[in-house]
């Protein structure tokens, strides 16, 4: 067995944490991801699979639940604690019964969580999404710094940005710069 050191998307041993004027920007690395895409004609079964796995109804378009969000028509991303679900895709596939294509996504993405009272002021500088109108449970895909990112509004004071892992440095720079210029 190789003795490898796990690195975060930003290339460090520990997740990056930034704070500015009562707002925080935290790199999140302890969440496993898997996408669930319905097979043709099995859309209802795939939605039921997501409901079984997450314990909540499969999210409607542009919505998120506590542990899943909508990616596209008949397609969802499931989130779970990495410590207990490192093989999340395999766990879901075992229950899929051919209704959905399940794909491991954990290491394809990086995630930054922003918390604070004035997140809309930050995101209006970064993307098209109108954060002022978002309440909790909203999930949209939009472009931030030319990168296709998921924006998950868990509550008006807590937003997760899930972007391409290979551009984690650029995304983090954009978020931190916007945070410092907006506040």
């Amino acid at each position: 067995m190789h003795d490898l050191i796990a690195l975060t998307p930003l290339g460090a041993r520990d997740p990056r944490r930034d704070h500015h004027l009562g707002h925080s920007l935290i790199e999140v690395t302890d969440v496993a991801l898997a996408s669930v895409a319905a097979r043709l004609g099995r859309e209802a079964d795939a939605a039921a699979l997501v409901a079984t796995v997450t314990g909540a109804e499969a999210p409607a378009p542009a919505r998120a639940t506590a542990s899943a969000f909508w990616m596209g028509p008949d397609q969802w991303m499931v989130e779970a604690p990495f410590a207990t679900h490192e093989d999340l895709a395999r766990q879901i596939t075992a229950q899929a019964n051919g209704a959905a294509s399940v794909t491991e996504q954990t290491d394809a993405w990086c995630r930054f969580d922003l918390k604070g009272d004035r997140l809309a002021d930050i995101f209006e500088r970064l993307c098209n999404a109108d954060l002022r109108r978002f309440t909790g449970g909203k999930a949209v895909r939009t472009a931030i710094e030319h990168l296709g990112c998921f924006l998950i509004c868990r509550s008006p004071t807590h937003v997760s940005v899930i972007g391409p892992r290979s551009s984690a440095g650029s995304l983090h720079h954009a978020l931190l710069t916007a945070m410092k210029s907006a506040l």
Binding site: L40, P61, A62, M71, G72, P73, N128, R141, T142, G148
Partner: protein, 95 residues
């Protein structure tokens, strides 16, 4: 220009990519005896209407769905936006 996405509501046209005439949904059968003529038509020949035009748009910076947008090429007025898969199924293509 704003495209009124059937699932997500109004979204900026900059999030979309134009993919061509909506007739591209109807890919000819490559095994048919007249496949060559059909594919020349499919690949190269387009109507160029001054007025209403049905076209394919791809929501690249969004949910990655393909849409059939009916747009007036003279005024840019958009009169209808549908998911391309719904249009394709209605027109007899299920895959």
């Amino acid at each position: 220009m704003i495209i009124n996405h059937p699932l997500l509501g109004p979204r900026d046209a900059a999030e979309f990519v134009y993919k061509g005439d909506a007739a591209l949904i109807h890919r000819p059968d490559g095994m048919a005896p007249d496949a060559l003529e059909k594919f020349i038509d499919y690949g190269y020949l387009r109507d160029n209407p001054a007025g209403e035009h049905r076209e394919l748009w791809f929501h690249e910076q969004g949910d990655r769905s393909w849409l059939v947008v009916t747009r007036n090429t003279l005024t840019h007025e958009i009169t209808s936006v549908e998911l391309a898969r719904d249009v394709a199924r209605r027109e007899g293509r299920s895959k």
